[in-house]
Symmetry: C2
Subunit: 383 residues, 2 copies
């Protein structure tokens, strides 16, 4: 099924309203793509255009209101039965701001508190000049943090959300299982990237929002690079890390392949990554903290040596975005809960320059982790 | 050629520094993907992850400094020879903020002025809580608008930038010319979307960041929807609007196709869109304003009636982003200059519910417009 039932959206809204009341907030102002879609179901790639701001006001004690550019009204109505106010955008002299002002003035009393997603990994998706204008024209109100209301809601995935993430992971899995069709010694890495994305589409991806990787000898230098034109060479390790999107939800995992052969060194390092993943899995228990997962994995990866760990973490949440809270880092004290979907992403140093990374996706259940990404081969496959 | 010469980056930086001095600003703080890449060459899809902030400080009187998460250092060094400071991220207790504070304290005097891109279509890509922290710890400084310095630089494309946009447009053009391979009556629109993206990749796209469209009878209801699963039906008009990316640069144009046939009404509406495009082209002359282009096109589209024009404009800039300044709207007084790359995107109302849209891409030269997107057929092609 595409989208979500009205019941699911109602539940999200009700929970937000209860949390607003608990947090002594009168209203939540939502501006970014994932948060807006979470509450409204509005799914479009049009957010790729930075021109127009989009707003959703969730009141503690009144029905919610969206304030959107006129270009979005038709699509929004398909999933949003609440009130919609709109303006003809772009209009630099008033980009929806007077509508926002009017509504906030009407519904909120003096000293009313408007919560904005403000914490780590959040974004105010509107130009600063408009935000400053809004705040100064409404100086009777307080614009404050949303007390992580949106974060805490999105952190726990519903069954329907998990299905979509699982679907994205299955699509990528079918593409990975066809890797021999697109990758071999002599083929340009840039062509492998293009063709692998086409495989993901062929297997049912709506779009492929993320693909990074490398093909290098003895491990790779980083995991965020776009493809170079240089061809795959016998002895390389090819890594593809992909974020395939299905109905607005991501998977995020990678696979490694030996080109023609795989060295014993890389092979045993990869085994170590699997051990670290197993150690991480054992810690994916409701009640544990994110940093416990990190330390369990890191103990195996570090093995007495100081690791560089340039990525700063060994996994993270995922869902409507490629990466979400929490982080499996030494700093993150988030308590794991049933319904979180996470990646385990152990990284091992091969030498001072090169690393090897493995990544899989898991759902946290009352009985521990359930793997969402397909089981990988017991050894690095050679292509 | 991939990327840009060091000379081109140096020129961008020097121009920014001159504009900083003219604007009485001491420093520019850059946080978002396109702006950061414009100055550093840092090209990665990793910005898809919202976890980590990235910073670039361009000083009026000192060499620039990047402050980036450690995961980005290796890739950044490939294109950026300037100073790099980094921290192990994610780290919610200090997400690069103390580094920013130290550097700004060191280089700026009391009452120093830090410019931030703040105007229309810009974004502060960092959590508000960190921004507030930064501002309050540096209360000797003023965080102000960048006076549109970054906008004004990015508005004018270099020859190398135009080549990349042209390459993206040519790739999409080759994909459109193969439309018969993927689209015909009876095929699900969602499959057409997947297969068309695969065609773009096959023709050389690095990735396909945008595809929207529709297949409906008698015109379509909006231009921002993702694909439905319903199949193409004889008599539909199929529209695909795509933003293909080549080396970090977008094209943004669409094509319409009649499924099996095309009605006289749609055919003549489409002719009107071509007339409007021609009228717009005639106005793409350096010295004209953006709104003059709008009015020239709108006169033809409106023809005495009031148009809905739910998109609010009839074209826009493009380049590193799918849409950039200016807007061909009745409000936009931007003066057209040599080196701007724009779309003309006339929209015509078919009836109260349905519209038809055409879009092409142009470079503004001293001699008027040069079309970047391939010439379209003289009539709507039937598939």
């Amino acid at each position: 099924m595409r989208g979500f039932t009205p019941n699911e959206f109602n539940a999200r809204l009700s929970k937000a309203q209860i949390l607003l009341q608990k947090s002594d907030l009168d209203c939540l102002l939502v501006t970014n793509e994932a948060d807006f879609r979470y509450f409204t179901g509005f799914l479009t790639r049009f957010w790729e255009s930075p021109t127009r701001p989009w707003f959703l006001l969730i009141f503690a004690n009144y029905p919610p209101i969206t304030i959107v550019p006129s270009i979005g009204v038709h699509l929004l109505k398909k999933t949003w039965s609440g009130e919609i106010r709109s303006w003809e955008s772009p209009n630099v002299s008033d980009e929806g701001i007077s509508l926002l002002q009017d509504i906030l003035s009407e519904f909120l009393q003096k000293n009313g508190r408007v919560g904005l997603p403000s914490g780590p990994e959040t974004l105010l998706r509107m130009p600063l000049v408009y935000f400053n204008q809004l705040r100064s024209s409404l100086d009777k109100l307080h614009f404050v943090s949303d007390c992580e209301i949106v974060k805490n809601l999105r952190l726990i995935k519903s069954e329907s959300e998990v299905k979509k993430i699982s679907q994205a992971a299955a699509i990528a899995g079918r593409a990975f299982s066809r890797i021999n069709e697109v990758a071999r010694s002599g083929v340009q890495l840039s062509k492998v990237f293009r063709d692998f994305q086409a495989l993901c589409l062929d297997e049912g991806a709506d779009w492929v929002s993320y693909l990074a990787g490398a093909s290098e000898h003895g491990g790779y230098s980083d995991v965020i690079s776009p493809a170079k034109d240089a061809p795959l060479v016998a002895g390389d390790v090819l890594m593809l890390d992909t974020g395939v999107v299905y109905d607005g939800y991501f998977c995020d995992y990678n696979r490694n392949f030996g080109v023609t052969e795989i060295s014993n060194r890389l092979s045993s390092s990869w085994d170590r990554l699997q051990e670290a993943t197993e150690a991480g899995k054992k810690m994916l228990i409701p009640g544990n903290t994110a940093k416990q997962v990190f330390f369990a994995m890191n103990a195996i990866l570090q093995e007495g040596k100081k690791r560089k760990n340039s990525s700063g973490r060994l996994g993270h949440g995922l869902g409507m975005q490629l990466t979400e809270w929490p982080s499996f880092s030494k700093y993150d004290e988030t308590i794991l809960q049933v319904g979180m979907v996470v990646t385990l992403e152990p990284i091992i140093d091969i030498d001072d320059e090169k690393i090897l990374v493995h990544e899989d996706n898991f759902l946290i259940t009352a009985n521990g982790p359930e793997q969402i990404s397909p089981q990988c081969n017991p050894k690095i496959p050679v292509i």
